[in-house]
């Protein structure tokens, strides 16, 4: 019953200041009986009378006004639900908010902060579970620890161990300890957040990609001929303003792509050409990058019998701005990618389509067919450099032919002899 609040708070405030009802009424220029009705919430109050009483009680009028209190009560009830607190119904939030508005505001602010921090923890947990760089670094640490534990157990638990074996195992432990020192130090550097925090959190682009991941990178509402991006965005709950800013142009382009290549016809053509972007471009007359984006946006139901489809898009500086990963192919969102990927090769040869069969290091990484092209993102204009963007489609359909060895990023790439290496790896160097 929020409408009762103002009177209750006027009464509490007056009693707290030791004022008689008659004195407050007189100074406010109203009758004592009228003030009595107000204090028992039987008359609504506002305007000049509220301002006068607030001034006489030495309190800001907003602390007595009904609208603010209603919001506060709603926030308190949300906080209680969020904390699954068992609140005695004999102590309604309305009383707490009316008697102690400052403390009530603090409770709601703390509850909002807890919500924000919980969201952040969820995002970090998600990142830990899906970040290929972190996963590889942890795998390296655990492998070395396993080796040390197993080898040291042999040394401790084997009486009369042959001298040659003993020497060998000591050397193995020493080598492993060096590896462990290096890999754990690198891991610590990777996890270290800069001043001000936030490095381990998600940026707006990452948050938006996570949002797309949840939807399978397919937005049915924007496939409709009369799709309205603004209306769709208004109906959608976005994590932050920054994510909205990233999402808007991406969704507008999605709508344009969908209008140019309507889903039904495109899905049928994709099946006919087995997702080959060159054949689809010839068939539809659409630019390659648009074909690739539409393939990545196909709904799951339309991809039965087709190879798994992934995509990566970077800007002219090589920064990854969008990706739909595949099992075994996921580029780090923040670290620079492998320069051998056709995605970056395309940037140096604008408008020239490139294709290659690529193989990534690691057991779970398949061979992939990669198709890349770099095109201007916006219409060209005089006296301004073109804004380039490279798009690379990856299909899990590569034949067991000779493949171009590539990586994800140097820090987790074990290839020992690579002309493109920028920095040492966290993992042991193996293979070619």
């Amino acid at each position: 019953m929020p409408k009762q609040l103002t009177g209750t708070r006027i009464r509490d405030r007056r009693l707290a200041r030791g004022m008689r009802q008659a004195d407050l009424a007189r100074e406010a220029g109203i009758s004592a009986s009228y003030l009595n009705l107000i204090e028992h919430n039987r008359r609504r109050i506002g305007g000049k009378v509220l301002n006068d009483i607030a001034r006489l009680l030495d309190v800001d009028p907003s602390m007595l006004a009904e609208g603010a209190a209603e919001t506060l009560v709603a926030d308190l009830e949300t906080a209680a639900r969020s904390a699954r607190a068992e609140i005695d119904t004999a102590e309604p939030a309305v009383d707490f908010a009316s008697r102690f508005p400052g403390w009530a505001a603090l409770v709601t602010a703390q509850a909002a902060r807890i919500d924000t921090l919980e969201d952040r923890i969820a995002a970090l947990s998600d990142r830990i579970a899906h970040d290929p760089q972190l996963e590889t670094a942890l795998h390296e640490v655990l492998s070395v620890v396993t080796s040390i534990r197993s080898t040291s157990s042999i040394l401790v638990g084997s009486d009369g161990l042959d001298r040659d074996w003993e020497t060998r195992f000591y050397k193995n432990i020493f080598d492993d300890s060096l590896r462990l020192a290096e890999s754990s130090q690198a891991l610590a550097v990777y996890l270290e957040a800069p001043e001000g925090g936030g490095a381990a959190g998600l940026g707006p682009a990452e948050e938006f990609i996570a949002w797309l991941d949840e939807r399978g990178h397919h937005i049915p509402e924007l496939e409709l001929p009369d799709a309205d991006v603004r209306a769709y965005m208004d109906r959608t709950d976005w994590p932050s303003e920054a994510v909205t800013a990233v999402a808007r142009p991406w969704l507008e382009r999605y709508r344009d792509d969908a209008r140019a290549l309507p889903l039904d016809h495109f899905a049928e053509a994709a099946a006919r050409h087995h997702c080959h972007p060159g054949a689809l471009a010839e068939d539809t007359g659409a630019p390659l990058a648009r074909i690739m984006r539409r393939l990545a946006a196909l709904p799951e139901a339309a991809t039965t019998g087709l190879p798994a489809i992934g995509i990566a898009i970077c800007d002219g500086a090589g920064a990854l701005i969008y990706q739909k990963p595949l099992p075994g192919f996921e580029l780090p969102q923040t670290a620079p990618g492998c320069p051998l990927l056709p995605l970056y090769g395309a940037l140096s040869q604008p408008a020239r389509p490139l294709r290659a069969v690529i193989s990534l290091p690691g057991g779970s990484a398949p061979r992939l067919s990669a198709y890349a092209v770099a095109e201007p993102r916006a219409a060209a204009s005089f006296d301004a450099p073109p804004v380039m963007e490279a798009t690379m489609l990856v299909l899990a359909d590569a034949p067991a032919a000779t493949a171009q060895p590539v990586g994800r990023t140097c820090r987790i790439c074990p290839r020992p002899r690579c002309a493109a290496r920028r920095e040492p790896a966290l993992v042991p160097m193996t293979g070619s």
């Binding site: 080796s147 534990r149 195992f169 290091p361 057991g363 293979g431």
Partner: protein, 122 residues
């Protein structure tokens, strides 16, 4: 009577340690480090038990296990998987593919011995 174990693992020091403790226990241990050719190696010289790492160069342990379970000759071969990836989804995937035992790193030598003896039925 201990038999033959094929250890498919690419970490040289883990290979050496596991080989040592199994050999000392009477097992004949063969090792293989390449994921690409591992399934073929199993078919060529079928062991009594396979110890299979998940992350291998060339091909993952999951793919190798899938191949082994699809082949009538190796469908019932006991396979113990070792991995640093101990998440529930990894364990579930291994179980779906038909693994006999899923062990996460780091493990103790005693655990390895106990499970090898148990799986190989000695």
């Amino acid at each position: 009577m201990p038999g033959r174990v094929l250890l498919i693992e690419d970490e040289p020091n883990i290979i050496e340690a596991i080989s040592f403790i199994l050999t000392r226990d009477g097992w004949t241990v063969h090792t293989h480090s390449d994921g690409e050719t591992a399934a073929e190696r199993v078919r060529r010289m079928p062991p009594d038990l396979v110890i299979l790492d998940v992350m291998l160069p060339g091909r993952s342990g999951y793919d190798i296990l899938r191949d082994l379970r699809a082949d009538p000759e190796t469908r019932l071969l006991p396979v113990m998987m070792l991995t640093a990836r101990g998440q529930t989804k990894d364990r579930e995937l291994a179980e779906q593919l038909g693994v006999n035992l899923f062990m996460t790193k780091p493990f103790s030598n005693a655990e390895i011995l106990e499970h090898v003896r148990s799986l190989a039925g000695t």
